[in-house]
């Protein structure tokens, strides 16, 4: 296994380069040419922008972001799409039959640096296929006010049961208790593609693909 070699040995040549100053010549001292140059730069932008307004050809603030001219986004009418990896509000994923995937293992609440996840584990009722096989969260609460959106809960989940791919940012509310998201609310959110399903390929009891192995039948 490679080991760290840090810090390495100093560079042979530091390659220092003195900064360049503006000359103290008459042109700079008199300040006049500089006024015109400065105003010129600003005016160039001013006319570029007004020309675009007059012609009605404003660059698209999302697609032509690197264009010259006004690229101000009129939020909230216009929105910049969030990138693929954007960490938004959490959601709890479901299996194909609609039951929740979370098994209340408490990995996410342990990994959470803000300690904003509260889980109460419970046993499935007698007669349920999953009883004795796994648990489920009776309570699953995420305090979105304490959450720092670090994504550690998603990384820590061994079941792909919690995700932050809703593409929603935290919404402002007018009271604090509205930020406390409970289990059913978290389950109701969809991923950005509109689905509830996840990448977890494990077949759990309750999945139509599960071979039907339970604790009683396994031996």
């Amino acid at each position: 296994m490679a080991t760290a070699t840090f810090p390495k040995k100093p560079a042979d040549h530091i390659n220092a380069k003195p900064v360049e100053y503006a000359p103290h010549d008459l042109e700079v001292k008199s300040y006049l040419p500089e006024i015109f140059r400065g105003v010129g730069v600003s005016m160039k932008h001013f006319f570029e922008n007004t020309r675009e307004i007059v012609r009605g050809k404003l660059p698209d603030p999302v697609l032509d972001r690197y264009d010259d001219g006004i690229t101000t986004i009129s939020y909230p009418e216009q929105k910049r799409p969030y990138p693929e990896r954007f960490r938004g509000v959490h959601r709890l994923t479901t299996r194909t039959d609609g039951s929740m995937r979370c098994v209340a293992c408490l990995c996410c609440s342990t990994a959470c640096p803000a300690q904003c996840i509260y889980i109460e584990a419970g046993e499935y009722p007698p007669g349920d296929k999953r009883r004795g096989y796994e648990k489920y969260p009776v309570k699953f609460v995420v305090d979105e006010l304490r959450c720092i959106f670090c994504g550690y809960c998603v990384e820590a989940c061994p079941c792909d049961a919690i995700r932050m791919d809703t593409g929603m940012h935290a919404v402002p509310y007018d009271s604090r208790d509205q930020f406390i998201y409970d289990r059913d609310l978290l389950l109701s959110f969809e991923g950005r593609d509109g689905s509830h399903v996840t990448a977890n390929a494990r077949h759990e009891p309750g999945d139509p693909t599960h071979p039907g192995l339970t604790r009683e039948h396994s031996h």
Binding site: R65, T110, I148, C150, Y152, P158
Partner: protein
């Protein structure tokens, strides 16, 4: 009656005058960050300046002792909140030094590219703010626009604009996105164009130069005695850059210059930062050329890295390893080490002690601007009140990192 406008010799009419005490801050528009300076004024001249820090103290070092080594990443994001990625990289390297692990090539290049992007953002903010505080609003707006573009790239990569929490012990949270190189190149191109335009408004502008030149000068010997590092030290003519003097990652393999000043005044600090933006751009370009498109960005050391998700879902070994790492944290061998990298403001050091458990026993940070702000009173005493503003701006104090 005697006429009032009688001409007096200087000193003939001495009004009993006491120095005036004035509070600048903790919330003052020209003192970015929350810092309070109590200045003793005689007329408009600063007789004494008492810089009081600590308004953003959050107990960072104590908080680190509470969680696992990996849970420190969100905290270091909030140290220098203008260039969080550099702190992420610094902390990751520090813990990796303790564990004696190395990150694969691709991860090292990736870290460099992201870190240098953050450095550009940091310097753009600092230099733009200096200009704005002296009345030049336009360059500030343009440069902040450029900074936004850099943050867009970082958001694309990490999922958050500012609080990335993207570093991991032994690598990065995820590999570069497929469009990373293209986006990066396009952004750098645009950022340089905006930078040049802003410079056109400032660098030959006599009013701006007069406000900066010979304001708050410091000699190289004094700066070293105070423990200065980073752009502020280099402005005094000392070419000390951790990336050159103690290279880490791949900095010894890329070609870049270290801009240095001569007088150590505010103008030098301003120009050194602008020079570093160009050097960072050069570094990123070389990095992008040499970063492989394939391969892991994280090491596969099972002591620190979470196993692949597919293993966690379907194998018992993967699940157990995953649970061990999440529940107990990565175990760092007992011992202590000091690890230092070049942050936005200078040498960002972490000194840490481990007792062999999954939680840091003690973490101590050496934030670059703590030492730098220590020299502020020396720079402004005997100067005009209005000189405090550009001088303080050029030191680029970041409260989150100073008040550790």
């Amino acid at each position: 009656m005697e006429p009032l406008d009688v001409e007096l010799e200087e000193g003939e009419l001495e009004l009993p005058a006491e120095p005036m005490h004035l509070n600048m801050g903790p919330s003052h528009p020209a003192m970015h960050g929350t810092v309070r300076t109590v200045v003793e004024l005689s007329g408009e001249t600063v007789v004494k300046a008492d810089v009081q820090i600590g308004y953003l103290h959050r107990g960072f070092e104590k908080m680190c002792e509470r969680g696992t080594w990996a849970q420190v990443f969100p905290y270091v994001d909030r140290l220098n909140y203008v260039s969080p990625m550099l702190n992420n990289v610094g902390w990751a390297l520090a813990v990796e030094k303790m564990c004696g692990i190395a990150v694969p090539e691709r991860g090292q290049w990736y870290r460099m590219a992201l870190g240098e992007l953050a450095r550009i953002a940091d310097h753009l903010t600092c230099t733009g703010a200096i200009a704005m505080e002296l009345g030049a609003f336009t360059p500030f707006l343009w440069w902040v626009k450029a900074r936004e573009m850099i943050w867009d790239v970082l958001e694309e990569e990490t999922g958050a604009r500012l609080t990335h929490a993207f570093g991991r012990i032994g690598g990065m949270a995820s590999p570069p996105t497929p469009g990373f190189k293209g986006l990066c190149r396009a952004t750098l191109e645009k950022v340089e164009q905006i930078l040049v335009e802003g410079e056109k408004l400032l660098l030959r502008n006599r009013i701006f130069i007069d406000r900066l030149e010979n304001v708050g000068p410091i000699s190289a010997a004094d700066a070293i005695a105070l423990g200065w590092t980073g752009p502020c030290l280099r402005a005094c003519g000392v070419a000390y850059d951790v990336r050159k003097s103690h290279p880490y990652l791949k900095y010894d393999e890329v070609d870049f210059e270290v801009p240095v000043g001569t007088n150590g005044d505010t103008l030098d600090r301003f120009l050194v930062r602008l020079g570093e933006i160009r050097q960072s751009k050069r570094i990123i370009e070389q990095t992008l050329d040499r970063m492989p498109d394939e391969g892991p960005v994280s090491c596969d050391d099972p002591r620190v890295m979470l196993p692949a998700k597919s293993d966690v879902y379907s194998t018992i070994e993967g699940t157990i390893q995953h649970f061990k790492l999440v529940m107990e944290g990565a175990k760092v061998p007992a011992g202590e080490c000091y690890s230092y990298t070049e942050g936005g403001n200078g040498e960002l050091g972490f000194y840490m002690v481990s007792d062999g458990s999954g939680t840091p026993y003690r973490v101590r940070i050496r934030p670059p601007c703590f030492q730098i702000v220590g020299g502020l009173s020396k720079l402004v005493e005997g100067r005009l009140l209005s000189d405090i503003v550009p001088t303080f701006g050029s030191l680029n104090m970041i409260g989150g990192e100073c008040d550790h």
